[in-house]
């Protein structure tokens, strides 16, 4: 039987539901942990960040207006689509993170299950985090969490798929949209994830994924005045003073940088990552006959 030449994939960005190349035309080489060439990834630019933020802003109100039940089903749908592509994700995680097939498969299983876990929160976190407040007067008084808006996220550098999902899912489940910078040196599973997102009923622009140099893109995202909040998880262990100074320009909500990349093997202890990107709204109304 004749050998067949593989058809290799061109990895591009994921912006507004489409897969553009970087407008800059730049790419950078992605190698496995042993230095063997895997692919050329798009190297996003300042303009790509701006385009992604525009797409995210446009998509956010509609996504937030979807019912919680609907958002939950969309997140669950992502898990369904990923499940059908387990082999592909396992192969990419294995070469990106230098894991055995068996360990890579476990990571992919956890990643799929993480979507399911967050999908279930969509119509529950408001019940957990909301409150009926017993004010001292004849008033109805209710507090509810609402999405902050457009969130910028720096995804973990080591955990290329599960870590990315642990950042993305809690941001979008409440109705935020997100512009995420993927792991710089392990971006390939993120773009394959984008293909799953694009075919899973998630409206275009709710999740935007940029591959490229974290140090180049992070300040652009942190300083963008139409970004409402920023997740610095991908800067674990690094000094983020400059990014936080930029974020203060429009009082961005900042999810602080951890000392080390968090272990995301298991789901977190509660909906904290969801609530980090929510605002509390309190509504008053008088009671009377």
């Amino acid at each position: 039987m004749a050998t067949r030449l593989d058809v290799n994939k061109t990895y591009k960005l994921y912006v507004g539901g489409a897969f553009p190349r970087s407008e800059s035309g730049r790419t950078y080489e992605i190698a496995d942990t042993k230095g063997r060439f895997l692919a050329n990834a798009a190297q996003a630019s300042r303009k790509d960040v701006r385009d992604a933020v525009t797409a995210a802003r446009k998509a956010q109100p509609g996504w937030a207006a979807a019912t919680a039940y609907n958002r939950g089903q969309v997140l669950y749908r992502v898990a369904e689509i990923m499940e059908g592509r387990r082999e592909q994700f396992t192969g990419e995680v294995a070469v990106s993170e230098d894991l055995s097939s068996r360990n890579a498969a476990a990571v992919v299983d956890a990643a799929i299950d993480r979507w399911v876990w967050y999908a279930g929160w969509s119509d529950k976190f408001a019940q957990v985090a909301g409150a009926a407040n017993p004010v001292a007067g004849p008033y109805f008084n209710l507090s509810v969490p609402e999405p902050t808006g457009v969130v910028g996220a720096l995804a973990p550098q080591s955990s290329s798929l599960l870590g990315l999902i642990e950042v993305l899912a809690p941001i979008i489940v409440s109705g935020n949209s997100v512009v995420a910078v993927t792991s710089q040196d392990r971006p390939l599973p993120a773009i394959t994830l984008a293909e799953a997102l694009a075919t899973s009923d998630l409206p275009g622009g709710v999740v935007n994924l940029l591959t490229g140099q974290t140090d180049e893109l992070a300040p652009i995202l942190a300083g963008h005045l139409d970004v409402d909040a920023i997740d610095l998880t991908g800067m674990a262990g690094r000094d983020t003073t400059d990014l936080e100074v930029l974020a203060a320009e429009n009082l961005k909500r900042v999810l602080a940088t951890p000392d080390t990349e968090p272990d995301v093997t298991d789901p977190p202890a509660g909906p904290r990552r969801i609530l980090a990107f929510c605002e509390t709204k309190t509504v008053w109304h008088p009671k009377g006959r």
Binding site: N141, A248, K281
Partner: protein
């Protein structure tokens, strides 16, 4: 619609009120005040002082110590020293201290009300009925939380943060103190609080309450001074938490200052709230709400309803009735129990209000102001209403922080929402309509931390307060407010 002539004038005949002054001698003001550090009043290390005056008469009230960096050091050190004991004290015992403080505030309420009115310029009716009772209520509410923090929403055994530096504004001096100090203490933190330089006296009287309550030394320290003292406090590297209420510009500078430090911050900043009146609103109630929204506390309210958005077909009717009702407001001696509008807090604030309102006129808006005599001394500004205000006018975009209302109109709910959300702020909003479904739709779409529907400017210790967007982050009050002073057990465990 020829609304202007359709309203029968039943309420404007001028009644002469006899003076009804609150007794001033209920409070004794010491001629000079030290800093309250480590449980006692001490002289400032650098020996400076400044005067605080009554804005309604410009009368000199007292000399107050000016805290410098060395004093900030001392206060933070006292708070750090006290933290170990205070945070380890059982929640039940901590709570009992706060209950004591609440009771002491209630017992001395009249004294605090008169002092607040003298130092701030706001009417005694407001200090007596709102500021002081609500401050006591904040301590009473949070006292009960101290031994129930497992149910605060952060999981079991949440930890206190440590030492909090707190800076409060001059518009609700004792009330803002209570919003800051009560939750911090209930959660086991110790605090260094800086009141505003124009209104330090009730905070210093509160220090006496801490002494009477036998609060352990250093749990609460109060340092007085202006912006430089505040900057020295927020720059101090032994703080675990900064809580600030004030302008958006200063809030941003604090966020920059703490960048990279991992220090926790909550910011309650400026606002430019829209008060939205639909054509089916209960107009008489709405008029009261509009007035309460912007002329309460001389408009020195971050969540004031400073932009009135009126549906176009009732614009003239609402504006006409509003002016008519405003004609009955009494401006003057804040200690008079019949006074509705008191003095502007300072000469500097009066200057800012004057400058911004002049800009409003220059940009083409139509100015109307209450025709009333102003006292000869003190800082006064007539309640003012601007109509024909453009959406991009500075008086429609910037916080004036005075008794000035900008009136704009809209046609549809979508337009009302778009205009209401069209500022960098997002602290509060008001909606007036009899249609329940519209209230809930509007409440969903207004990007503001507090939405008052068919009411305005209501506050309660159980109800979280705080902003969206550039009005800051974090909440004060309610279960949500506790998160500002706690962290989950497993962090750093």
């Amino acid at each position: 619609m020829t609304a202007t002539s359709s309203v029968p004038d039943l309420i404007t005949p001028t009644w002469e009120y006899a003076p009804a002054p609150e007794a001033r001698d209920v409070v004794t003001i010491r001629p000079s005040h030290g800093l309250f550090i480590g449980g006692e009043f001490v002289d400032p290390a650098d020996g400076g002082s400044f005067a605080t005056i009554s804005p309604s008469t410009e009368e000199h009230l007292a000399e107050v110590a000016l805290a410098g960096p060395r004093d900030v050091d001392r206060a933070v050190a006292a708070a750090r020293k006290a933290f170990t004991g205070w945070s380890k004290l059982s929640g039940t015992e901590r709570g009992k201290y706060l209950y004591r403080i609440a009771r002491l505030l209630q017992e001395r309420a009249r004294e605090f009300a008169v002092l607040e009115t003298l130092d701030n310029g706001k009417p005694i009716r407001e200090t007596r009925d709102v500021d002081i009772p609500t401050a006591a209520a904040f301590f009473f509410y949070h006292a009960g939380w101290a031994d129930k923090l497992d149910w605060a929403g952060l999981g079991p055994n949440p930890r206190s943060l440590g030492v909090a530096g707190q800076i409060i504004p001059w518009n609700f001096p004792l009330l803002m103190l209570s919003w800051k100090v009560a939750p911090a203490l209930a959660c086991g933190n110790t605090v260094v609080l800086k009141p505003a330089e124009t209104t330090p006296l009730t905070a210093l009287l509160f220090a006496e309450v801490c002494q009477q309550a036998d609060l352990p030394p250093g749990v609460v320290s109060i340092i007085t001074g202006a912006g430089e003292t505040g900057a020295a406090l927020t720059a101090h590297d032994d703080l675990d938490k900064i809580a600030f209420t004030g302008s958006t510009a200063v809030g941003k500078s604090i966020q920059r200052q703490v960048a990279g430090s991992g220090r926790r911050v909550t910011l309650e900043l400026g606002g430019k709230a829209a008060n939205i009146v639909f054509d089916d609103a209960p107009i008489d109630q709405a008029i009261e709400g509009i007035i309460d929204g912007i002329f309460f506390n001389q408009g020195h309210v971050c969540c004031a309803g400073s932009r009135l958005l009126v549906q176009e077909n009732v614009h003239d009717l609402v504006v006409d009735r509003l002016k008519q009702r405003l004609g009955t407001l009494r401006l003057g001696d804040p200690l008079d129990k019949n006074t509705d509008v008191g003095a502007v807090n300072s000469a500097a604030q009066l200057e800012r209000i004057t400058a911004l309102t002049d800009t409003g006129e220059a940009e083409g808006a139509t100015r109307w102001e209450l025709d009333c005599p102003l006292p000869e001394r003190g800082f006064w500004f007539r309640p003012t209403v601007f109509t024909d205000v453009g959406q991009s006018s500075r008086i429609a975009q910037e916080e004036i922080f005075g008794p000035v209302l900008s009136v704009l109109s809209f046609r549809t709910p979508d337009e009302a929402v778009a205009k209401a959300n069209n500022t960098p702020y997002g602290l509060s909003a008001g909606v007036w309509t009899e249609k329940g479904s519209r209230i809930l739709w509007m409440a969903d779409h207004l990007r503001a931390g507090v939405v008052w529907a068919n009411t305005f400017n209501r506050f309660d210790p159980t109800s979280p307060f705080g902003g969206y967007k550039e009005s800051g982050f974090g909440r004060e009050g309610g279960r949500h407010g506790l998160a500002a002073y706690l962290e989950p057990a497993e962090v750093d465990a």
